[in-house]
């Protein structure tokens, strides 16, 4: 079965803060895997802030369906030419999750850099696989003198195997909120890392 845009969106959104707070996580996880409770899942996904970004990306690219898989992948992985930048005097908006999420630290004093580190989309090589969990070489998001950076020296963290069925040590795995979402090719993984670094740089420049 090919993964739909709606199911791919559910993979990323099932552990997000709003889903956890409102108790949507299980429903979205089941929908992501089995396609069950379609109508309820869509209703929830449309209410999440990520849907606003899908709509903007879709509209910008003349795509009718905001849940089009290319649109959803573009927002979360930034791996598609659909991701763009919208300019405004004094600011620019990158239509990519790892850019939009950085603002939360500034807007909410209760939100920590560690929260955003878990919330950003990360990709890393698997270095251990056991009992439903994967060890990965995680590059942490940190903040120094008001600027964000990805650490150069990865640390090993354990994430849930989540939506990944087949994986070998050395494979690139993409994860969000410490749950594995998918396996990426090296080209896709390096593109995601590069786009994340570009997003952080742009955000820092605008905050300077």
């Amino acid at each position: 079965m090919n993964l739909t845009g709606e199911q791919f969106a559910a993979r990323f959104s099932c552990r997000c803060w709003t889903s956890r707070m409102k108790g949507f996580s299980n429903l979205l996880e089941n929908f992501a895997v089995h396609g069950t409770n379609y109508e309820k899942a869509i209703k929830i996904l449309r209410k999440l802030s990520s849907f606003a970004w899908y709509e903007i990306i879709a509209k910008k690219n003349n795509i009718d369906n905001p849940f089009n898989i290319r649109v959803v992948r573009a927002y979360w992985l930034g791996d598609d030419k659909l991701v763009g930048q919208i300019e405004s005097p004094g600011s620019a908006l990158l239509l990519f999750h790892n850019f939009t999420v950085l603002e939360d630290v500034h807007r909410y004093p209760g939100v920590t850099v560690e929260d955003i580190d878990r919330c950003k989309v990360s990709v890393a090589k698997a270095c251990g696989i056991k009992e439903g969990r994967i060890d990965v070489h995680h590059r942490e998001l940190i903040q120094q003198d008001g600027e964000f950076f990805l650490t150069q020296n990865p640390k090993i963290i354990s994430i849930e195997k989540g939506f990944v069925r087949e994986l070998e040590t050395g494979d690139w795995v993409v994860y969000h909120e410490e749950i594995a979402i998918d396996v990426l090719s090296e080209k896709e993984a390096l593109a995601l890392i590069q786009r994340t670094e570009e997003a952080i740089k742009l955000f820092n420049q605008q905050r300077a």
Binding site: S13, C16, W17, T18, M21, K22, K47, L48, S49, S50, F51, A52, W53, E55, I56, I86, S88, G90, S91, L93, H97, F99, T100, V101, E103, D104, R107, Y108, P109, G110, V111, D115, I116, C119
Partner: protein, 71 residues
Amino acid sequence: MCLAIPIKILEIKDNKAITDFKGEKEEFDIRLTPDIGIGDYALVSNGFIIKKISAKEAEEIFRVIKPKEEI
């Protein structure tokens, strides 16, 4: 976190809206939501209004999140 904060539109001038979030005034670009009007509720992010929402939806989000001064 994946948060987007609901605000209320107080004033619109050119491509900018003056908004209110629990008494805090802020300016946002409205070019992504040209149909926005005074009195509407909307989600904002990174200097832009990203989606118009109903008052009911705004209230739902307020129930889940806490504004700055309450955290």
